[in-house]
């Protein structure tokens, strides 16, 4: 496969998506309610990212623009485009990511550069460009500290960038661990551990080795049978969700050295990640993104079958063999009309979710809990 999947646009749906069985016959079902459609991008929308303060949503796509959305007339108001950033990239913008402080926005593009935007001058401007990748950049992510940034590319490498001084970014490492296109980079929510997902079907974790200040692979997670498109940590950083072209959502759990569960470790230093749950058969196409809400613990997936799905852990589930229920999905007239590329939970409003699709729209959803 040479290209970012230019998903085949058959309309035929061969597998009818199975309806979820609700255990309680007389309850009001949980549902995903459409809040608003944000239209404006020309062509597919690749990614959405919430500002850590929650008042700006950034979106990007193949029209090479970044749109910054905000509400009109107070936080409850309608979301409208506040700014369009148009002159940063020469090709598709694949991903956008806010720095933890909220002052910087990073954009990763197929033009092999990553742009860093800020508003120091009063308007949003690109004040640094990170060059070095050989070709298309697929993902960008800021570490919790805000001092490190990671990018990954079709050139199979993962780069770690360090903020040297104001608007100066230095390459701290080029990690050559994957054997194929790297699709996603994500930082651990608390530790300086970097995780990447690849077309080589694996997930890898990296950590800085103080001996030579280089980054090395500390874990390789294999279980998916096709491209791993995206990964997301839960709020504690002890579990990781991954989604793949193989149509599964997997949950991984960390076992630290000396764990009471007798999980063997490759060596005595690094933790071991074990796949503790695989959700099969619910997604009928490639799953492109996953978001794990750090407020509600809900998991959202973005799928090539146009559907956004919400999963919730069963209350009595065994932590070493957890089970997750599909509790809601975005099917029907309100849903996206083409592949869903990304999902992102709002950082402060529980249950508010943004999704981005090939149909050119960003949609905002509200997850409503079921009632007995």
């Amino acid at each position: 496969m040479l290209f970012e999947p230019y998903h085949l646009t058959y309309v035929l749906r061969l597998i009818e998506f199975p309806k979820h069985d609700i255990p309680f016959a007389d309850c009001k079902q949980p549902k995903l309610q459409l809040v608003q459609v944000l239209s404006g991008h020309r062509g597919r929308v690749w990614n959405v990212s919430w500002h850590p303060g929650g008042n700006i949503l950034a979106s990007c796509g193949e029209d090479k623009t970044i749109r910054l959305w905000g509400t009109e007339g107070g936080p409850e108001g309608k979301w409208v485009v506040k700014t369009s950033l148009t002159d940063g990239h020469e090709r598709t913008i694949r991903e956008v990511a806010w720095s933890p402080c909220g002052n910087y926005l990073a954009s990763a593009s197929f033009d092999a550069t990553t742009a860093i935007w800020d508003k120091k001058s009063g308007t949003w401007e690109c004040n640094a460009t990170l060059e070095g990748h050989e070709n298309e950049i697929k993902s960008v992510s800021w570490a919790k500290s805000g001092q490190l940034l990671a990018t990954c590319s079709r050139d199979k490498t993962v780069w770690v960038w360090e903020i040297a001084e104001e608007d100066e970014y230095e390459c701290a490492a080029v990690v050559n661990a994957h054997v194929q296109d790297v699709k996603k980079v994500v930082w651990h929510p608390t530790d300086e551990i970097l995780v990447s997902a690849s077309y080589d079907n694996s997930i890898k974790m990296f950590r800085n080795d103080p001996a030579d200040d280089d980054w090395s692979c500390i874990a390789t997670l294999t279980s998916h049978t096709s491209t791993v498109w995206s990964i997301a940590f839960d709020r504690t950083g002890t579990r990781l969700a991954s989604v793949s072209d193989d149509g599964t959502l997997k949950i991984w759990r960390v076992y630290l050295p000396g764990n009471g569960e007798g999980i063997g470790l490759p060596d005595d230093i690094d933790p071991r990640w074990k796949c503790v749950c695989t959700i099969v058969g619910l997604h009928s196409r490639s799953i492109y993104d996953v978001a794990w809400c750090h407020q509600t613990d809900l998991i959202a997936t973005a799928c090539g079958d146009d559907v956004v799905r919400i999963f919730q852990e069963c209350p009595d589930s065994d932590p070493h063999q957890p089970s997750f229920n599909l509790v809601a999905s975005s099917s029907g007239v309100n849903g996206h009309h083409q592949d869903v590329n990304a999902v992102a939970w709002h950082p402060t409003i529980p249950g508010l979710l943004a999704s981005a699709s090939d149909d050119g729209d960003v949609k905002l959803w509200k997850f409503l809990e079921g009632e007995l």
Binding site: E62, F110, E134, N135, D155, C171, V174, D212, D214
Partner: protein, 490 residues
């Protein structure tokens, strides 16, 4: 790391999904032969193509062969072209030549046989010494013994070429620095050129912007090539094409260097270095014969440099393994800085201390005069440091006068094709061991080598002669990125 290339070259593999056998984009000239109409092409069981003409005769069709120099000139895949390398620059190819030579001599066709010369650089000696737990000098002589046992006529060290490379780098730097101080537009910092991984990356990725900064001085491997193919060949009355010159190097990138068209003499149909083999390939050769280097009887390393010369001055280092001051990659920064401090600022005993900056692979030394920094030199190894250097240069924020650049982290002692560490040993531990080994070798300075004067005066035709630039310098070529259907995307 399974590839013998430096990490930098693995990165310049421009398109990750193609291998040359599948999707080579290099246009090739195909010699057309008149084919009768009505001929058919059939595919045989072995996958070969034959042409069947009207009379029913079959003729095997030639495959188009892509050579390594085609690959070098192309912006497409490069290091995935290992299959190309294997056909031209491998132990098999070398052994084939050795075998062929032996047979010719056994049949009494001595005159048709070639003079086989093997030049060994220091890093593989240390790598193999560590692998077989030998003293470096002992390993060197046993390696010589092994190569002679399989067919080498002459085995050489590369000290003389390293000396010439350091001296030419020094001259080039002084010229650049003086002309810049004189106000002309000269490219400083000067970057070393002995690492072909870095040069290849610069040519492919940064093109004409970066090339003027790269030292035109040839690497020791290529200077040795010139000396062997011109001086030694002449002294032994061989045509250059009848000398088969093998170098032993720590990195596959050196194979690419040897294949550059700049080092091919069309008139004589001869390459300065015909074949490059690496530490790891020598280990494989020994293993395939169930041999350990310690089993091999030692043999002297040859010293044919004074043949045909009237010089009688003794060479103190003859027959010993020596090192240069500074890094295990040749010590360019140390040497050039020491000379520059003296020549430009009259500092004869400046303490040149290379301090670690962001990481151990980025080190810097400064010379201060009256509180001002007058010289700033650096050693940058590994891709991340090269990368930051390039970005700084592009933004006009590169503070250096000279940078010794090697593509491999820790430089050439940790070359991509050095012998791998034993099970349980970290790569870094092995590199540290090799560095320590290198440190312990006796220090040699280029100016103390009487052969150097001999080469300049006689072989090169005196100081300032044109032959110096043709024999000891080379040129670089930007590789234009090709836009093919494969890499035009939305």
């Amino acid at each position: 790391m399974s590839s013998g290339f430096s990490g930098v070259l693995q990165l310049t593999d421009l398109d990750d999904f193609i291998t040359p056998s599948q999707e080579c984009i290099k246009p090739v000239v195909i010699e057309k032969t008149a084919s009768g109409t009505g001929s058919k092409i059939k595919i045989q069981n072995d996958g070969s193509y034959v042409q069947v003409n009207e009379g029913g005769d079959t003729e095997k069709l030639r495959r188009v062969d892509i050579s390594l120099s085609d690959c070098l000139a192309c912006s497409g895949c490069i290091t995935s072209a290992e299959s190309v390398l294997i056909t031209q620059q491998s132990q098999d190819e070398m052994l084939k030549v050795f075998q062929n030579n032996k047979q010719l001599r056994e049949c009494g066709k001595e005159k048709e046989s070639k003079l086989i010369v093997v030049s060994i650089s220091i890093q593989p000696v240390l790598s193999l010494a560590a692998r077989y737990k030998l003293e470096p000098h002992d390993a060197f002589q046993r390696l010589s013994g092994y190569l002679k046992s399989i067919g080498a006529d002459v085995v050489l060290d590369m000290t003389l070429s390293e000396d010439l490379s350091l001296l030419e780098s020094e001259t080039e730097f002084l010229e650049r620095f003086r002309s810049k101080s004189g106000g002309s537009k000269t490219c400083l910092p000067m970057f070393t050129s002995s690492c072909p991984g870095w040069v290849c990356y610069a040519e492919k990725t940064h093109g004409s912007f970066i090339l003027p900064y790269i030292s035109s001085t040839k690497s020791p491997q290529q200077i040795q090539g010139t000396l062997v193919k011109q001086l030694i060949a002449k002294n032994r009355s061989y045509q250059a094409a009848n000398v088969y010159h093998v170098t032993v190097e720590p990195c596959y990138d050196k194979k690419l260097e040897a294949s550059r068209n700049d080092f091919y003499n069309e008139q004589e149909d001869s390459r300065d270095v015909d074949c490059v083999i690496t530490s790891i390939e020598l280990e494989q050769m020994l293993m395939s014969q169930n041999l350990s280097l310690s089993d091999i009887p030692p043999a002297e390393v040859d010293f044919p440099w004074l043949e045909g010369s009237s010089s009688t001055e003794p060479c103190s280092y003859k027959g010993t393994l020596v090192r240069h001051r500074g890094t295990g990659s040749g010590g360019y920064a140390d040497h050039v800085m020491a000379v520059a401090a003296y020549e430009l600022f009259g500092e004869s005993s400046a303490q040149l201390n290379f301090k670690v900056l962001r990481n151990p692979d980025l080190r810097e030394a400064i010379l201060e005069k009256d509180g001002q920094v007058v010289l700033r030199f650096a050693v940058a190894n590994g891709f991340r440091n090269i990368q930051n250097l390039m970005q700084k240069l592009k933004r006009g924020k590169c503070p250096y006068d000279f940078v010794e650049i090697m593509a491999c982290p820790s430089g050439c002692l940790n070359g991509g094709a050095q012998v791998r560490p034993e099970e349980g040993v970290q790569q870094k531990e092995l590199t540290t061991q090799l560095e320590k080994c290198y440190e312990e070798l006796p220090i040699h300075t280029p100016k103390s080598n009487p052969l150097v004067q001999e080469i300049y005066a006689n072989f090169l035709g005196g100081m300032g002669s044109d032959r110096i630039s043709t024999s000891l310098h080379t040129a670089y070529h930007a590789v234009e990125k090709m836009n093919t259907a494969l890499n035009i995307k939305w």
